[in-house]
Amino acid sequence: MIRHLRILAVAAFAATPLHAEIDIRPVTSEAGFTAWLVEERSIPFVAIEVIFPGGAVLDADNWLGATSLMTELLSEGAGDLDAQGFAAAIEATAGSVRFDAGRDSVSLRIRALSENRDEVMALARLALTEPRFDEAALERVRAQTIASLERDARNPNTIAARAFNELAFEGHPYARPTDGTPESVAALSRDDILAAHQAALTRDRVLVGAAGDISAEELAALMDALLGDLPEATVPLPDYAEFTAPGGITVIEHPGPQSVIAFGHAGIRRDDPDFMAAFVMNEIFGGGRFGTRLMREMRTVRGLTYGIGTSVATAQHGDSFQGRVSTDNARAGEMVTLLRAEWDWLANGGITEADLDRVQTYLTGAYPLRFDGNASIAGILASMQFQGFDIDYVNVRNDLVRAVTIEDIHRVAERMIDPESLHFVIVGQPQGLEDLGF
C-alpha cells in the first residue's frame, strides 16, 4: 500500500481544544521503583514499557555494537530455556516480550493477557536477569547482525545518516554507529556481551510506563519482581556533544536513480527556554507531516521529491537541527540551492502570525489523538519520563504550545537557523553541485 503525502493551504475552521482526559497515576514499589500508570479495564490485557537510559553510548570504543548484540540475545534463551524453548514459552502465552537497543537507551515492551500475566512476567524477568548468551545463539545472531550491517552499508539512507553523525559529533559516542560495524561485531567475545549486560540494564537507571488491566498495587509488586535483581549502574553516561560539522557539502558516490541528502546544523537543548518555540517553528517549517512549508515548496509546487522532513533532533547527550530528502540525481544541485534559500527565509522572519495560529490549532487538537490505546499510552508514559517531563505535562502541554508567540518564533529562528552553517551529506550521483559556491 502506498502512503500519500500532501499539502497545507488556508485553514477554514477553528478547533476547540479537546481535553486529553488521561488520568496518570504515579506508582512507587516497596523496593523504590517508580512507574506511571493509566488503569484501563475494558480490555483484558496490559501493556508495559520499560526504558533503561544508556544504550549504545555506553559501549566502549573497542566493543562497538556490544549493547545492541547483547539486547538481541536477551530473547535467545534464559534460565533453563534455550532459544527455541524461550520463544515457545512466550508463544504459548500469546504475550510478547520485546527488547530493543537504541543509541540512548534499551527498551523492553511487554504485552500480556490478564489471564496469564504472571507467566509472561516470569519469562520477562528471566530474559532480563538470567540470559544464557549460549555460544550457538551468539554465533547465529552475530552472523545475522553482520549481514544486516552489510546491507546497511549499501543503503543510501543509512550511509547518509552515519556520515552525517560522524561529521556532526566528532569525538563523541554519537559519532559512532549504534549497532557497530561488521568488523567490531565480528570481534565481540561472550565476555564483552556479559559486560554490556551488566552495564546497560541497571536498577538505578530505569523508567516504567504501564496501561491497561492492572492496579497500582499489582504493578508495584510486578516491578519489584522484574527489576529487583538488577545491578547498580557503574558505567558513566557521556558528556554533552558539541556539534562539530562546518558548513559545506560532503558527497558520497553511490549507484541509484536518486541522491539522498542529509542536512543540518547545531540544534537546541531540551532545557532551553526557547525549546518549545523551536519545536513549534519546526512544525511549521518541515516537521514530520505534510502541511509544512518545505513540503509545499519542494513537493507540491515543484514536484522535486516524494517527501521532505526536518526535526529538532534534541537527544539525551547532544542536539542538532536536521533534515532528509531524496531527489533525482539531476536535480540535487537545485535542491541544495532551494534548501539554503528556505533556511534564509526561516532565519529572516518568514513565518507569519497566520502560520503560527494554524499550527497551534493543529498541535493542540492533535495531541489527545495520541492517547488511543494501551500500547501507545504505555509507550508515551515511559518516554515522557525519559525526556524529563513532569507527570502533569499532559495537562499543561497544550497551554505551553499556545503560549508561543510570533516574537518567540522569530527570536529562536534568528538564534538557531543559519544557512551558512548548513552541512549537506549527499549520497548518490548528484549533478549541479559545481556552481553552488562551496
Binding site: 502506498i2 545492541s68 544486516s148 541509484g256 536518486q258 507540491t300
Partner: protein, 457 residues
C-alpha cells in the same frame, strides 16, 4: 536497533495473516463491555453506499475511512499507475474547495489524513476528535462527486509520483526484484502490474486519464464508509444520509470483470543481479487461494500453513530447521496472502548463511518442506499458533483504527461483514490434516522462484 530485513515483503502486498486479518470473534465481543470491542453495525444507503460503524468509546476520537472498490488491477491497458495517481489528485481542488484545502481543514481541526492504493481498492481516511466527524464526512462526500483537476496541480504531481517510484522502489533492489517476480507470476491477470505503475507509462498519465478513471469508478454504489471510534451508529446513519445521500448512484460503476489466470503449466525461474545487493536470497511465490465470501476454509488452511512454516522467527518450521538446526540460513520465511479479490499468493524463501550457495539454500528449503509434509504438524506448535490467533482478537480491540482497516479491506475485496468477523473462527477450525493438504497443493508449475544476487558470486 538492528533491523534484520527478512525479505518477506518481496511481493508488495504480501502480508502475514496475523497482521492483516481481523480476529474479532462474536463470542469474545459478547463478553466485552460496550466501551471497546462492540460488534460492528452495518447498513446501506439508498444510493448503494455501504456503511459500517465500529463503536469504541474509550477515547473521544474517531476514524473515518472511505474505501472505493477500485484499484490498480482495474486500470485501462497502457495507463498503469492511474489509480494511485488519482489518489494523489484527490487531495487537490474540488468545485467547492481550493487546492489543498481538504488537508488544511483536517489539520486546522487537529486531525490527520492520508490515503492508500492497492490492486483491489483505494482508501481515504481521517482521524479527528469525535465532534469533527460530520465536517470530515461533508468534505469526503464533496470530493466523491466534485473533484476538479487543474494543470497547476496535475503536472507537478506527476513528478511527485515519479519521485515516489524512484524513492520507494527503484532505490531498493529488493523491491525491483519483487516487481519482477510478480510480473512473472501472473501471466494474464493485472496483479502482475505494479500499483505505482511502470515508469514509461506513468510519464504519460494526465488529467484526462485521471478524470475518466474518476468518473467511471468513484460513486456511492462502489464505495464503503467505515466509521470507528467514539460514534453512534444512528447518528452516523443520519450524517451519511445528509452528506453522501444526495450523490446519485452510477449504474455503470462497480467491480468490473478482469482478465484472470489461465492454468499454469511451467515453473518459472528468475535471476536478478544488482551491485547494491549485500545479502543474496531465494524466494518462491505460488498462486494460492483467496478468502471467498461464505467460503474461507481453503484460504484459512493456507494461512495456518504460512503461520506454522514461517510465523515465528524462532519456532516456525523453516526457521527452526534451516536457521537454528542446520545452520544453512540467516533467516527463512513463509506466508500466505489470501486477502485479494481474484488470486492469492503463498511465498517462502531463505537468506543463506555465509558460505552457503543459493542452490544449496533452495535445496535445503525443498527438503524441509518435503519433511514437513512427510512428518505432519507438531501438535504443540499447532496449539501455540491457535492460542495466538485467539489472543489477537483481544489485542486488536485496543486499536479501533486497525479494526476499521481490517473490515474495510475485507469488504473492499468482496467479503461480507460476517466473513470478516468469521475469519478467526475459520482459522481455528483448520485441522492439521488440512494444513498438510494445503502444503501438498503448492504446485511448482504455478510458481516462480527467484534468486537475487550481487554482482559477484
Amino acid at each position: 536497533m538492528v533491523t534484520r530485513i527478512h525479505p518477506r515483503a518481496v511481493l508488495a502486498a504480501l502480508a502475514l495473516w496475523l497482521g492483516l486479518a481481523l480476529f474479532a470473534s462474536q463470542q469474545l465481543a459478547a463478553a466485552e463491555p460496550a466501551a471497546a470491542g462492540s460488534t460492528p453495525r452495518e447498513f446501506t444507503l439508498e444510493n448503494g453506499l455501504q456503511v459500517v460503524v465500529i463503536e469504541d468509546r474509550r477515547a473521544p476520537v474517531v476514524t473515518q475511512m472511505l474505501w472505493y472498490r477500485v484499484g490498480a488491477a482495474d486500470e485501462p491497458p497502457g495507463l498503469s499507475g492511474i489509480a494511485h495517481y488519482l489518489e494523489h489528485l484527490m487531495f487537490k481542488a474540488t468545485d467547492n474547495m481550493e487546492q489543498g484545502e481538504f488537508s488544511a481543514v483536517v489539520e486546522a481541526n487537529g486531525g490527520r489524513d492520508n490515503a492508500f492504493t492497492s490492486w483491489d481498492y483505494t482508501g481515504y481516511f481521517q482521524r479527528v476528535a469525535a465532534d469533527r466527524l460530520e465536517l470530515m464526512m461533508e468534505m469526503e462526500a464533496d470530493r466523491m462527486a466534485n473533484l476538479r483537476i487543474d494543470l497547476s496541480d496535475w503536472l507537478p504531481e506527476r513528478d511527485v509520483i515519479l519521485e515516489e517510484r524512484s524513492q520507494v522502489l527503484e532505490s531498493r533492489p529488493e523491491r525491483v526484484f519483487g516487481e519482477q517476480m510478480r510480473a512473472t507470476l501472473f501471466q494474464n491477470h493485472p496483479y502482475g502490474i505494479p500499483i505505482i505503475g511502470w515508469r514509461h507509462e506513468m510519464e504519460i498519465l494526465d488529467e484526462a486519464a485521471a478524470t475518466a478513471f474518476y468518473r467511471a469508478h468513484y460513486a456511492p454504489n462502489n464505495a464503503i464508509l467505515i466509521v470507528a471510534g467514539y460514534a453512534d451508529a444512528e447518528e452516523v446513519r443520519a450524517m451519511a444520509e445528509r452528506h453522501f445521500g444526495p450523490i446519485p448512484a452510477n449504474p455503470e460503476a462497480g467491480p468490473v470483470a478482469r482478465p484472470t489466470e489461465p492454468p499454469h503449466h511451467a515453473e518459472r525461474r528468475l535471476i536478478m543481479r544488482d551491485p547494491r545487493v549485500a545479502q543474496p536470497f531465494v524466494n518462491r511465490v505460488h498462486l494460492a487461494p483467496v478468502r471467498r465470501a461464505g467460503d474461507q476454509a481453503e484460504a484459512a488452511a493456507f494461512s495456518m500453513l504460512g503461520a506454522l512454516l514461517g510465523g515465528s522467527s524462532q519456532t516456525s518450521v523453516l526457521e527452526r530447521r534451516l536457521t537454528h538446526e542446520k545452520g544453512v540460513a540467516l533467516s527463512a520465511w513463509a506466508g500466505h496472502n489470501g486477502n485479494a479479490r481474484d488470486h492469492g499468493t503463498f511465498s517462502l524463501g531463505v537468506t543463506p548463511a555465509p558460505g552457503i550457495s543459493l542452490e544449496e539454500a533452495e535445496a535445503a528449503l525443498d527438503a524441509v518442506l518435503a519433511e514437513f509434509i512427510e512428518n505432519g504438524v507438531d501438535a504443540e506448535q499447532f496449539e501455540r499458533v491457535r492460542m495466538q490467533v485467539r489472543a489477537a482478537a483481544i489485542y486488536e480491540l485496543d486499536d479501533a483504527s486497525a479494526r476499521a482497516r481490517s473490515i474495510g479491506a475485507d469488504l473492499a475485496i468482496g467479503l461480507t461483514l460476517e466473513d470478516s468477523l468469521g475469519w478467526l473462527g475459520a482459522l481455528l477450525e483448520v485441522t492439521p490434516d488440512e494444513v498438510i493438504a494445503a502444503a501438498r497443493a503448492l504446485d511448482r508449475r504455478a510458481s516462480v522462484t527467484g534468486w537475487l544476487k550481487g554482482e559477484e558470486g
